[in-house]
């Protein structure tokens, strides 16, 4: 299927075909223009952005101690380098397709215009420029010399991410010679991303196990999975979060209960696992039973048949629904502000309670919406790229 290109004549044909069409088109255009200019006027002239500019650190990392923030900068730098590395290796051959040029342009614009608009201090602006430059340089170098690297080394590259996650955890929380920063002092975007990534990473394997359990022939396993999934899906997340915060304190003597931040992270994980399980099950159901039977008749033991034949196909089917669940999970982290954690929304609410910035709700919520949109859009883009890559037809073509 080819998408017809967007041309002037086609626009004219479709939008101004009859006088009635023309009137509707013009009315809608006028409406959009009015709303758009009103919004722009507010953003540029009426809104008072001091509330954001003064609190950038709070929105980014919450109450993380200032003298320890170099650790977060180091982590951001490492993440940028790893992203550049993978980006370059995926493209290979040192080319810069148009999409890549666009992405690089957006990154540079963000680093320069973004940090100027937020009125960041000069050293912090410089750090953002440096990190962006690092990302692009690593991208360039990886693309340039990807052919020269030995294949076994290239196979190890995906391991960068789990290793980096563990390194990041140590950098954030301390230990191994670094000063400990208790979870109570994490906040803002840092806490939101941490909780979401923790829950996403853990709920996925848990969800697969639950989905397999639900289709198991062992009654105990099957009923256990069904009861768990249905119980979790029958309860609103906020009630489970409250249960996690309040009941654990009573059940476990003081000091033994995990920190509030981790309690919330586990509740998010267990909650999302039930939904991921159902998404994965939809993939399993979509698979013809012949696949498993064929694998078994070839002499593969059950677990190998699942790992090598059934799951790869089922997970590909379940991918869009699963990523949808991840995006929901990222947005659900805003509920943490209701149980008193200073996630992005919690930070925003405490900032709006500062008498200096009373009544600046619109500015704060708009920035929050943009931030969440960026995070969710990144997840969505990643999932679509993964879908194309996993599509057997597309790979055979390449």
């Amino acid at each position: 299927m080819t998408v017809p290109s967007l041309t002037f004549s086609r626009l004219r044909r479709e939008l101004f075909a009859t006088p009635v069409d023309s009137v509707i088109t013009l009315a809608l255009l006028g409406f959009l223009l009015a709303v758009g200019t009103a919004f722009l006027r507010w953003v540029l002239f009426q809104a008072q952005w001091a509330v954001i500019q003064a609190n950038t650190t709070l929105f980014a990392v919450g109450r993380y101690p200032i003298e320890q923030q170099w650790r977060l900068w180091l982590l951001t730098g490492l993440l940028a380098a790893a992203s550049g590395l993978c980006w370059g290796l995926l493209r290979g051959r040192g080319t810069w397709p148009r999409n890549d040029q666009l992405a690089a342009g957006i990154l540079i614009a963000l680093a320069v215009i973004g940090s100027w608009a937020l009125k960041l201090e000069l050293p912090i602006q410089l750090r953002w420029w440096g990190i962006t430059a690092l990302l692009l340089m690593v991208r360039w170098a990886a693309g340039r010399w990807s052919q020269a690297l030995p294949a076994p080394l290239l196979r190890l590259v995906p391991l960068v991410w789990p290793v980096l996650y563990l390194v990041g955890m140590v950098l954030i929380s301390g230990g191994l010679g670094l000063m400990r920063v208790p979870p109570g002092e994490w906040g803002g975007l840092l806490l939101t991303l941490l909780e979401a990534s923790f829950a996403i990473l853990l709920c996925f394997p848990l969800g697969i196990l639950l989905a397999l359990g639900r289709r198991s022939e062992l009654p105990l396993l099957r009923w256990g999975s069904v009861v768990y999934i249905e119980f979790i899906r029958g309860a609103p997340l906020i009630t489970l979060l409250f249960l996690g915060q309040n009941i654990l304190g009573f059940l476990l003597p003081g000091g033994l209960a995990p920190d509030r931040v981790w309690r919330a992270a586990w509740v998010l994980t267990f909650f999302a696992a039930a939904y991921v399980a159902e998404a994965v099950r939809s993939g399993l159901v979509a698979l013809p039973p012949g696949q498993l039977e064929a694998a078994r008749s070839l002499g593969l033991p059950m677990h190998q048949a699942l790992i090598h034949v059934v799951l790869p196909q089922a997970l590909r089917v379940a991918l869009p629904a699963t990523v949808g669940q991840f995006i929901t999970l990222l947005q659900d982290t805003t509920l943490l502000s209701l149980i008193g954690l200073l996630d992005l929304l919690g930070t925003a609410r405490t900032v709006m309670a500062n008498p200096e910035f009373l009544g600046k709700n619109a500015e704060v919520y708009l920035v929050l919406a943009v931030l969440f949109w960026c995070c969710c859009a990144a997840l969505g883009l990643g999932s679509r790229a993964l879908e194309t890559r996993l599509n057997p037809l597309a790979t055979s073509k390449a």
């Binding site: 003064a54 609190n55 650190t57 709070l58 919450g62 109450r63 993380y64 101690p65 200032i66 109570g184 409250f242 915060q245 309040n246 304190g249 009573f250 003081g254 509030r260 209701l338 149980i339 008193g340 954690l341 200073l342 919690g346 930070t347 609410r349 405490t350 900032v351 709006m352 309670a353 500062n354 008498p355 200096e356 009373l358 009544g359 600046k360 709700n361």
Partner: protein, 353 residues
């Protein structure tokens, strides 16, 4: 075998007896909570975290506000350092559970002192002295010419639904036999937005909140608070009932701030006052209050100079009020009921004797 089981049944009893024994032979203060705070070296304090003037996080990441300063004063009195506080943001539904389960030592979160919260048969809490006397009020635009609750008869009033505010308004309007149209909204933001759009001629909430919201209006001077106070909302720090020793320590720290204002002792002149007390043996009252002589601190299980530490940390009650919600802040609340008793207010510290 049977005997063994009996012994096992008795064991908890024996342990309990032993604990009681320990508790009684110390002689001084044996407060589990107070000892816990001291050995931890940190006070765990529950706050709202999102209430203008009472608790919020400043751009530099530090907590500020009236409720927050109460926590700091108690930390200074018990541990000698106002920075040794860990704050927990709590919402209204989990605050008492957090206190009961021991997750926090002190709840300083604009909590209204009521019978059912105090009684052992209710929440079983122990209330410290009230640090802010609030009350439900009504705000109207100056231009509307409304001077009292009676003038609101037959008019629409904006109110947040599902709150005691809504019920109090209904009760008071029934008492004065005035009909009115309540316009109910789910959130505070919606309520004030409707009020500003002119969908109602008045809005009701706690007076401190009305005043706080007013500062964010386009024309703050164009709105007035009616003189009527529709309800009593004494906002009070809370500890658990089971530990009178800890409750006393918190109570007298707060009274210390109030007494300091009465005596004219401020953050700025506290060192001079201590020097004065040390130099002059005739000022027995001042010497006892500042811990130069006597054993008030010891009786409470606190350092002798606990009042000095608290005042040094946050100032006296008046300074604390003005800085956070009074003329020194954007909220510009009047002292009102929160004046010293000698000025006709309700702030009254029992004697330090």
């Amino acid at each position: 075998m049977v005997r063994l089981r009996k012994l096992a049944l008795c064991a908890p009893l024996l342990v309990a007896l032993a604990l009681v024994g320990c508790a009684s032979d110390g002689g001084g203060i044996q407060s589990q909570k107070l000892n816990g705070v001291k050995s931890r070296g940190k006070l765990l304090c529950g706050v709202d975290g999102k209430l203008p003037g009472f608790s919020f996080v400043s751009p530099d990441g530090s907590y500020s506000g009236l409720d927050v300063d109460v926590c700091r004063a108690v930390a200074a009195a018990t541990l000698g350092d106002p920075s040794k506080v860990e704050f927990r943001d709590l919402n209204s539904s989990e605050r008492f559970a957090a206190l009961a389960s021991g997750e926090i030592d002190l709840l300083s979160r604009n909590t209204t002192y009521t019978l059912s919260r105090d009684a052992s048969g209710g929440n079983g809490l122990s209330f410290a002295p009230t640090v802010f006397y609030d009350g439900q009020g009504v705000m109207a635009p100056k231009a509307a010419g409304i001077n009292s609750l009676k003038d609101l008869a037959g008019k629409p009033i904006c109110v947040e639904s599902g709150t005691t505010t809504e019920l109090n308004l209904a009760d008071r309007m029934r008492e004065i036999k005035a009909t009115y149209t309540p316009l109910k909204f789910q959130t505070g933001d919606q309520t004030y937005a409707a009020y500003l759009q002119g969908r109602c001629v008045a809005v009701t909430s706690d007076r401190s909140q009305l005043a706080a919201k007013r500062t964010s209006f386009p024309d703050p001077a164009g709105h007035v608070l009616l003189p009527e106070v529709l309800s009593k909302e004494p906002l009070t720090p809370v500890t658990v009932n089971a530990d009178p020793g800890w409750a006393d320590a918190v109570r007298w720290t707060i009274y210390g701030l109030m007494q300091a204002e009465e005596l004219g002792i401020t953050q700025a002149n506290i060192d001079a006052k201590v020097a004065e007390a040390k130099a002059n043996p005739n000022q027995a009252d001042l010497r006892r209050f500042l811990g130069v002589e006597g054993d008030f601190g010891k009786q409470l299980g606190l350092p002798a100079d606990f009042v000095v530490q608290a005042v040094k940390a946050v100032g006296n009650y008046g300074e604390l009020f003005e800085r956070n919600v009074g003329q020194g802040s954007k909220l510009k609340l009047e002292r009102g009921l929160n004046r010293q008793w000698s000025d006709g207010g309700l702030i009254y510290s029992p004697p330090f004797r």
